[in-house]
């Protein structure tokens, strides 16, 4: 069972929902794993203080040109859609950071001069924290290509037979989000009752609908303006799964980098509807 926690807007509370949900689930279920798929800015480890037992650099394939075999036809540079190869004065120059690893250059090369080598784009780490398994990826600073690392984090989790995987996804609506939510059994869309939360939620809903994944809404920092989200949800026939109240106590807990449910168990009931959704679908 794979549950993705996503949102269009940043800072709506994805990591808060993911970490506390995993914590709550681990009280009932064994083999719960939390995946921090926000590899550009992973934060879950701050709440969890995990002990890592595995750490491995992650590489993406990039071309390597054997000058002796190269017949200087320039086809590799021509076929590359990402300008990762240039053919200048009879020589092929590779720009590894632009490469998407599609291997077209190697396929078109008539003399077999292009092989592949690895380029390190980040690291995958896994371990144990607060009663459950934890995996995250950390992208190298300045790295433009996060989807391969996100996929590596997911692949690492699939090696073990976890009963429940919670995937904390990156914000936005483009490739990294799609890489993270793809294959999920259900998506929790975390939003806040502000015009910004609503606008970005609509964009994210479009993406999740295009992917054909079942989803529901979590209103975080819920309060007086919830109708903003509720009216939209009603008009679109989307279920509001739960509301996490706009509480000073939760904010203080968060600001210290602590799990809410560890210190404020009274908010357990706000997370229980999410546990129930997972239970129903198992």
């Amino acid at each position: 069972m794979k549950i993705a926690v996503a949102s269009g807007k940043g800072g709506t509370g994805k990591s808060t929902v993911s970490t506390n949900l995993a914590y709550l689930l681990s009280k009932t279920y064994k083999k719960v794993c939390l995946l921090d798929c926000d590899v550009e800015e992973p934060n879950c480890h701050i709440f969890l203080k995990p002990v890592f037992s595995f750490s491995e650099p992650f590489y993406v394939p990039v071309p390597q040109v054997n000058v002796e075999k190269c017949v200087q036809c320039g086809k590799c540079a021509e076929v590359c859609q990402y300008n990762a190869l240039a053919f200048v004065k009879g020589k092929v120059i590779v720009f590894p950071e632009l490469c998407h690893g599609c291997r077209s250059c190697g396929l078109i090369c008539p003399s077999g001069a292009i092989s592949e080598t690895g380029r390190e784009v980040g690291v995958v780490e896994s371990g144990f924290a607060s009663g459950f398994n934890f995996i995250h990826g950390k992208s190298r600073i300045g790295e433009a290509m996060s989807p391969p690392l996100i996929k590596a984090v997911k692949k690492h989790a699939d090696k073990e037979d976890f009963i429940i995987q919670i995937l904390d996804c990156p914000p936005g609506t483009s490739c990294p989000v799609i890489a993270a939510v793809s294959g999920a059994d259900y998506v929790f869309m975390v939003t806040e009752p502000t015009p910004f939360g609503l606008y970005d939620l609509k964009l994210a809903v479009d993406v999740i609908r295009k992917l054909g994944l079942p989803f529901g809404i979590v209103i975080n920092r819920a309060g007086e303006n919830d109708n903003l989200i509720e009216d939209y949800a009603k008009s679109e026939n989307i279920k509001i799964l739960t509301k996490i109240p706009d509480s000073r106590a939760i904010a203080e807990c968060y600001s210290k980098g602590e799990l809410v449910l560890k210190h404020l168990p009274e908010f357990k009931k706000a997370f229980e509807p999410l546990v129930n959704i997972i239970r129903e679908r198992m």
Binding site: G8, K9, G10, G11, T12, E40, E41, N43, Q81, G101, C102, R103, L107, P171, G172, T173, S174, C175, I178, P195, F196, Y199, D200, L203, A204, K210, L211
Partner: protein, 97 residues
């Protein structure tokens, strides 16, 4: 010379848009640019009047000409992004991106 100020943050929801909107109120002879193209929100505060809309294209996507295709499966084999399904259909999401 134009002075260019960039407002960034690693974490989401820290207040980038709020700061830019505040600058918009303070500065004279200015242009505000929302580069958060994934989930652009600045217009919600500034309520601009849209004068020009231009479609933006980038990159290319594969198209299968089904009348010529012999269904050899080579494209499925070489595509590392799984953008082509077993039924020789180019993935919709891959097309958009």
């Amino acid at each position: 010379m134009t002075k260019e100020l960039v407002i960034i943050s690693g974490k989401g929801g820290t207040g980038k848009t709020s700061i830019v909107a505040a600058f918009a109120a303070l500065a004279k002879n200015k242009v505000m640019v929302d580069c958060d193209v994934d989930a652009a929100d600045l217009h919600l505060i500034l309520n601009p009047q849209i004068e020009i809309t231009t479609e933006f294209y980038s990159g290319k996507s594969a198209e299968i000409q089904s009348d010529i295709c012999v269904k050899c499966g080579r494209c499925l084999e070489v595509c590392r992004f799984n953008a082509i399904s077993e039924g020789f259909v180019v993935d919709e999401i891959s097309k958009i991106r």
